[in-house]
Amino acid sequence: MEKPARPVVDIARLSKSFGEGPTAVHALVDINLTINTGEVVGLIGPSGSGKSTLLNCIGCITEPDVGEIRLDGREIYHDKWMIDDLRRLRLETIGFIFQFHNLLPFLSAWENVAIVRTLMGEDMEQAKARAMDLLGYLQVDNRANSPPAKLSGGEAQRVAIARALANEPRIILADEPTAALDSERATIVIELMKKVAVEREAAVIVVTHDEKIFSRLDRMVHLRDGRIVDTERPDHA
């Protein structure tokens, strides 16, 4: 039986500006957004619309000026939160997927995944076992010992997804994850993220310009000049 969806990301009245006075740039204005487990949500909009700022605020990187963000039920950025608390929250709750995979070039594929577990305090043997499980789940375990430079674009992105899953995150933030991939590989990657969201009860937030994956998203949030201007559910044909 499918578990009922529950909110993992809950944003209320969020605003963020850069600079002061007449030259201030209002990157985000009064954002309200809730994302549930199992959901893959796309943040869509032109450059400067506030997508990256919103992603950074959710990712515990940029503190908003006004408003609240609740991640997995915990309000972040309140007075008692220190930078190290935010780092710890990133390490334990959020998985990141990047446009160009951002695998550490000096580590092998499995080490790139295992490093997350070791940062969480797990010993190397257990971390490696967990990394191999994830690489198997993403069907790249045959390249576990390869350095990133020897992996194809698709393989590297799968390893990057495995790394994002290594901490069993409640939230996965993906920044243009399919921009460097061809249509076929982009579809595979987005389907994979959907599978992860459902099976692991995570919320996936994807910043994308890639129209070929729009139809695969559960919801598209359109941003313009820092405001949410539209929310639509694509037709899953």
Binding site: S52, L55, N56, R87, F106, L107, E111, A114, D175, E176
Partner: protein, 378 residues
Amino acid sequence: MNLAWRDVQHGLGRFILTCVGLSLLLGVVMGMTAIYRGLVAEALGIVDGAKADLWIVEGGKRGPFAEASRIPRDTRNAVMVQSGVAAAGAIVYQTVEIPYRGGILRAFVVGAELDRPGNEVVIVEGRAILKSRSELVADRKTGLALGEKLRIGRNDFTVVGLVANSASSGGDPVIMMTLRDAQLVQLEFEPSAVRKEVARNPQSGVSGDTVNAIIVRLHPNASTHDVIERIRRWKHLGALTNPEQQQILTRSVIEKARKQIGLFTGILLIVSTVVIGLIIYTMTMDKKKAIATLKLIGAPDRTIVTLILQQALAMGLSGFAIGAALIRLAQDYFPRRLVFETSDTLMLLGIIIIVCLAASVFGVRSALKIDPASALGG
């Protein structure tokens, strides 16, 4: 997993090249220190080798090393009969340039009386001098071989023994001969006017039977102070203890070299710090994306700092080890003696560790300033 080591393995060739480059710089630093120690060892070697309790020199002079000193040879007899004196020997020092194998051999001639203080040397090959007017003992750095004939002035000498690491404070290798032979050599190297005066009047005292100093050994219970006071009553004589002689040498002869080398070594250490700092900074900037990614996925600052410090230390220590090996391999090719002292090596090692840590400051600061958000986006 050790991120510093993995990163080094990833760019091993570049890391080794950087370490070799740094090792040349650190090798020069070690070389400079060893050159200074060599200067001290060479300068004091002659003084210490004489095993003198007192040096009797020309009155009012700081001779025979810092200033010219000439006293009559028979002063030795007058000194010998002083209360508290166990033994005394006259000694002559003369720097000479001798035509040798188509070139010039510059050497420091030491003339000492047989079986008297000043004549004891450690022979490493061959034997000591047994007779006057034909034999000499040479330091290996002269290039002379056992049995080889050498013409000095108008006399031929045979090399009967070799010594090692015996040189003047100027670095000229030592040639030892009997006092008489050395006096003749000294006379032959005098200006011709002096030689003519000596030939016309051997008792003139201009040169001839003069020596540069008398080396005195005292009885174990003798009062050094009393002996010095008695000798200083002769106005034309002065007396210096061995520590005083060492101090004159270190202050007059080596002090400037020490300052020069010390200053140069300091400059080299500053240059090394800047070079290490630049390398660490460049290495850190090369990893900017990786560091941003590490920070974004939740790595604490200490992981990043450890990565940079470990690499800086690995580079500094590797450079130090390679530099030490290179300078030791090259030490025999230096014209002057290099002396490596464990205390200097350990002190330099400590300085290198501090330099590496200090040089990492810019790299660490830059790394900590990297915004994790820069890992996102292209």
